[in-house]
Amino acid sequence: MTAFFDILLGGVFHAAVLFLVAAGLQLVFGVQKIVNLACGSFYALGAYFGITSVNWAVSAGVPPSLFLLVLLASGLLLGLIGPAIELLLRTVYDRDEAFQLLLTFALVLMFQDVLRYFWGATPQTLGNYAMEYGKLSVGDLQVPTYNILVILASILIAFGIGAFLQRTRYGRILRATAENREMSQALGVNVRWMYTTVFTLGTVLGTVGGAMVVPTAAASLDMPVELVVEAFAVVVIGGLGSMRGALIGALIVGLMRAAAISWWAEIEMLAIYLVVIAVLIVRPAGIFGKPIE
């Protein structure tokens, strides 16, 4: 039974990590209809900046136990690059999707060089901060408390965004704009400002996600591309543009991966993409996506 819960928690933790990457991708596509390949770069940027911030804060006398607050603050602060990037994206809003993909892929490459310039090629880690809050132990089952915090944060973010989109006035306007941009504009909605807000929120999801996950992993120049590949599997399964889809998609991918690793390690990726293919055949728009017209 301990082994089962170990594997289950491993899968849920990976799902939480994937959700944090996929959530920004979903939000931006849902409203702005842009497939933002650079969402993985925001995640990586958050991870690197988080490490620097924690190291700086601890050397400045901040108690190590407050590192989580430092990480959150650094992620939020870094989200301020969102409006500048969105300004760049305005040049391709009304152009073919290929241009949008090219521009966001160019951003991935540019950010990779930015990371290399400031932090070098060496993968960076945060030492043992993830164990600062100890472990939760039930019998033989042991899990770092920090991993549970990451899982809870992902759930909180998922429900928070859901509530924001469904229950608030701004969220309703935002959904209306996603449905019909011209009509919203005609009714007096400041679409340009709305896009800036949404893109910044998507960026913050990435940067905060990267900052939160880095104590359990490492920041490396390859992480933007690696995570985006898995995040796309999440998006295809859950449905492009759906936040609920991102959550369920991430859970399916995370649990499938954990199960495959435990019972048949060689088919780790195959198992995930078999689900992707099955979803594309049975429900091409994804579990929560809108049917393609």
Binding site: L9, A121, T125, M131, E226
Partner: protein, 426 residues
């Protein structure tokens, strides 16, 4: 093994005198006016970026040292550095260095995927190429049997063979259930297979209870660790050696895999030694430092000087790639100078290659030589980890030293056959 090391040190002592006297030797004026151009191809980013960076620092140190002592046979050395990426692009950079920059020698390469493809191209182009790392083996089978222009490092399996021998030496009879977590490419697969073959050779009764093959660069190993823990191993053998290694250790510590006296052997840990922080790495693990153990109390004065300068300059401690890069440069220098001496004129490429075959040098980590079949022999260091040191990461409590003639197959022999028949001493 020790007498072999002493003989080599004696032999190298002679060449060391020549090297020390080189600033006072006279060389023709024309030679001194034109620098030797050496191309370096090394990774600067990605999973091997750290390793390439350390190798490049080793090369730069060697060049600064050699240039200060008069260069190679009186000619200063000039480096042209290119990036190692995928095989196709790296080969294009080799062509550029040879055809456009007209370098005298190319050195570098960390990835076996690149070296395997590049070796054949260098032979075709008749380009003198000395690898830092990597191999021209497909798995454990040599693909370039009669190398002429390509000089290779020691076989990749050396560290796995040595770690396996230490497992037998320290833990025979103390474990039965074995789990492996190794990178999912030929290096990881061959290392784990070599470990099992050596357990069989030494009659170590064991059972493989779990095998994990994470792809290189995986940053979330939670599920892999859960699977290992479920198998309840007594011993974990892992050839992880990139950024995934500290992640694995930290995750294992968090999940309790390191509780209960589970033993760990990490043949390639030296690449990540400074990232393996004490709080999540227990004492008594087998750690491999390959051909350079930076904290060796009996290190040569040249290693101690290098480590000190490295620490002062980069606020870091070098791994074995610095030694591999230094070794490559030292072998080339020794070859050129021996050929120059024999000819009493600047030697051609063929003369240099002939002189490099069988040459013995003193590298940063210890003595080494280039075999006639163009495979290096070097000194390897591994041992049991300790926390009793001035660092925030573990070092070696007791150090085992082996020369690679004990760790790699001789020229032309099949690796698995060698393991079965070799007279390997513990």
């Amino acid at each position: 093994m020790d007498s072999k090391r002493r003989k080599l040190l004696h032999a190298i002592g002679g060449t060391g005198v020549v090297a020390a006297a080189s600033p006072y030797l006279s060389f023709p004026a024309f030679a001194q006016n034109t620098p030797l151009r050496i191309g370096i191809i090394a990774p600067k980013a990605g999973i091997a970026g750290t390793i390439g960076e350390c190798g490049l620092r080793g090369t730069q140190y060697a060049v600064a040292e050699m240039n200060a002592a008069g260069g190679i046979a009186g000619r200063k050395i000039e480096l042209i550095v290119e990036e190692e990426t995928n095989p196709k692009d790296s080969i294009e950079r080799l062509r550029k260095l040879v055809l456009q920059d007209k370098v005298d020698c190319v050195q570098g390469i960390v990835s076996s995927g690149v070296s395997l493809a590049m070796g054949a191209v260098a032979e075709e182009m008749k380009a003198l190429l000395v690898f830092w790392d990597g191999t021209t083996q497909d798995g454990v089978k040599e693909t370039l049997r009669n190398k002429r222009y390509v000089f290779c490092s020691t076989d990749n399996e050396c560290e796995a063979v040595m770690a396996s021998l230490l497992v037998v030496k320290h833990w025979k009879g103390k474990f039965k259930r074995v789990a492996g977590i190794n990178p999912d490419y030929s290096y990881g697969r061959n290392n784990f297979a070599a470990f099992q073959a050596l357990m069989k050779k030494f009659g170590v009764e064991h059972e493989i209870v779990a095998e994990q093959w994470p792809k290189v660069g995986t940053t979330d190993l939670t599920s892999h660790v859960a699977a290992l823990k479920a198998a309840k191993p007594d011993l974990v053998f892992s050839s992880l050696l990139f950024a995934d290694l500290p992640i694995f250790m930290r995750t294992s510590h968090g999940a309790g895999l390191m509780d209960g006296g589970t033993k760990f052997a990490f043949p390639g840990a030296g690449f990540q030694h400074t990232a393996l922080k004490k709080p999540f790495t227990p004492e008594g693990m087998i750690l491999g430092h390959n051909t350079l153990y930076f904290d060796h109390p009996n290190a040569s004065p040249m290693q101690k000087k290098f480590v000190k300068e490295y620490e002062d300059k980069y606020k870091d401690y070098p791994n074995w790639e610095a030694d591999r890069a230094y070794f490559a440069m030292a072998v080339y220098k020794a070859g050129v100078e021996a050929a120059y001496k024999a000819k009493n004129a600047w030697p051609g490429k063929e003369d240099i290659i002939n002189a490099m075959e069988g040459v013995k040098v003193m590298s940063l980590g210890g003595p080494g030589e280039m075999r006639k079949d163009h495979i290096a022999e070097q000194t390897f260091y591994q041992g049991l980890s300790t926390h009793k040191n001035r660092y925030d990461f573990p070092t070696l409590g007791n150090i085992d030293t082996m020369y690679s003639t004990q760790l790699q197959k001789p020229a032309g022999m099949d690796f698995w056959e060698w393991i079965k028949t070799a007279n390997i001493k513990l």
